[in-house]
């Protein structure tokens, strides 16, 4: 190739690269802007991505298009209705209900999946560290854990699978009451 031809080819290649670089910058900038725009509602409500709130059990059922399985036995040491209902609709959907004790302290969480026995939606339950775990008498694979909650206190947590759903029941109160509530979800109160 002659000298001017090589120069022209180099100039064209450099122009092409510059054009591609500009296109990539504009697209990446737009993607970043869209990502930020997507995160704003969560920031405004103080919730992680994908977690929504419902004001009543009925509204949660409407959003999830499924009936929630709730305990028939509910000790009067807790307040009804739930203080907060948070749900995710990915992976078939899951929901977490938070209850306060009569004195107003957060004392009980009931979480369940509604579309399969997969894991609960991320961010539904508060972070907790498991310090001890053993089998529970709620069917195959069920566990009883001692956990340290965000507030630094010890909680009991039951986790089991039944009726095509995955359940987690976490409470501060006596273990007997928690187990009784868990059994009552499936109509067995002992």
């Amino acid at each position: 190739m002659s000298e001017p031809g090589v120069t022209a080819a180099r100039r064209a290649a450099s122009e092409g690269l510059r054009a591609l670089w500009t296109l990539a910058l504009v697209l990446v900038g737009t993607a970043a802007l869209l990502w930020a725009l997507d995160a704003v509602p969560g920031w405004l409500r103080g919730e992680p991505r994908g977690v929504r709130r419902a004001s009543t059990v009925e509204e949660a059922e409407r959003q999830l298009r499924a009936r929630l399985m709730l305990p028939a036995y509910f000790p009067d040491t807790y307040r009804w209705p739930p203080k907060a209902i948070r749900l995710t609709r990915d992976e078939g959907g899951s929901v977490a209900l938070a209850f306060d004790a009569r004195d107003g302290t957060p004392s009980l969480f009931l979480a369940e999946t509604v579309g399969g026995t997969g894991p609960l939606g991320a961010g539904l339950l508060p972070e907790a560290a498991v310090i001890q775990q053993q089998r529970a008498g709620l069917g195959e694979g069920s566990t009883l854990s001692r956990i340290v909650g965000e507030d630094g206190t010890l909680w009991n947590q039951l986790e089991w699978t039944a009726g095509g759903r995955h359940f987690v029941l976490r409470g501060r109160g006596p273990l007997e009451g928690l187990t009784r509530m868990a059994r009552s979800i499936h109509g067995v109160v002992r």
Binding site: L23, A24, V40
Partner: protein, 330 residues
């Protein structure tokens, strides 16, 4: 299709148009796209988004509407904004309502004057007077310069200075006596060459097709604005073609300026400006029109814009990039 799906379709059509138009406008400026035909190509790509790409995405990829996609793969989910409420309704619902109203207002702003102007009686043929002969002669010269047949000519013996082409099936150039009196021979030839360039590109038919697209996308303000931008590009394309054919860019710029000044840049009759909606919009519209005329004149006073190299490849790259991006916007 369920109502919720129609709402999602409208929301995506609006949002995709906005994103596609903003990306394309940024690239048009950053790449320095100056040739009107190439600018039209890029803007047509943006307009294709709500008209072709969004319906295709809905038909071929229904999984995009599922919760798993929205929560797991989507880069942006507009429905998330429904979680934030204002006066009892989600912000997404407010946004769609506001956009639809803005889209409808923009459509009516152009559609109403268009329909009213079509109701007017067609103008007669030019008489065998010196003015009539002068305009016939200038039209013949312009048509020869563009290598096309001389179209029928219609003539307003009275009224304001107007010069335009019309007719999708039977194209005709319309000129008024006031315009003929206003322009010298070179200006008249340049202005008529501009109108013939519109006919050469079948712009009257294209403008009806674009008006149809606007009707379909009545709820989409981005599409309404894009069609207006395309109309401006078509004007500049006709400017360039007409000026290239007559070889006198200055004469066309002068004709544009004279005709604009003669009509006072008015968008509508004074009676219409007294109406509440129009009076609030008349000022910005007049200012935008003045700015547009100024830009067209500036472009004509400069040299013919250089076309961008490998334009089609760039267009394809933008289309592919936008598709990848907007596939993940629901």
């Amino acid at each position: 299709m369920a109502a919720a799906r129609w709402v999602d379709f409208a929301g995506q059509a609006i949002f995709h148009t906005l994103v596609a138009a903003l990306v394309i406008e940024a690239l048009v400026r950053l790449w320095g796209v100056r040739a009107p035909s190439q600018r039209m190509g890029f803007r047509l790509l943006a307009l294709a988004w709500p008209l072709l790409v969004v319906p295709t995405l809905f038909l071929l990829f229904p999984q995009r509407e599922g919760e798993a996609f929205r929560e797991g793969q989507a880069l942006f989910s507009a429905r998330r904004w429904d979680d934030v409420t204002f006066l009892g309704a989600g912000l997404y619902a407010w946004w769609i309502t506001g956009m639809a109203l803005a889209g409808l207002a923009l459509l009516l702003l152009d559609l109403v004057p268009l329909l009213r102007s079509r109701a007017a009686a067609p103008p007669p043929l030019p008489p065998a007077t010196p003015e009539g002969e002068r305009v016939r002669g200038a039209l013949g010269e312009a048509a020869r310069a563009l290598g096309m047949r001389v179209p029928p000519l219609a003539y307003f013996p009275a009224g304001p200075a107007v010069l335009y082409c019309t007719g999708a099936r039977r194209p005709v150039v319309v000129v008024s006596r006031a315009a003929v009196d206003l322009l010298d021979d070179a200006e008249l030839r340049g202005a008529l060459a501009h109108e013939l360039a519109h006919l050469e590109h079948r712009d009257p038919a294209l403008s009806w097709a674009l008006m149809g697209a606007r009707g379909l996308m009545w709820f989409n303000p981005g599409a309404q604005v894009l069609v207006r931008a395309l109309a401006r590009d078509a004007e500049r394309l006709a400017d360039e073609r007409g000026a290239a054919a007559t070889g006198d860019r200055l004469a066309l710029a002068s004709a544009l300026l004279k005709l604009y000044r003669a009509t006072g840049g008015s968008y509508e009759a004074p009676a219409d400006r007294a109406r509440p909606l129009f009076s609030s919009l008349a000022e910005p519209i007049a200012r935008a029109r003045a700015h547009d005329i100024e830009l067209r004149c500036r472009a004509l006073l400069g040299p013919r814009p250089e076309p961008l190299r490998v334009s089609l490849l760039r267009l394809a790259a933008v289309g592919a990039g936008l598709f990848l991006l907007l596939f993940h916007v629901v």
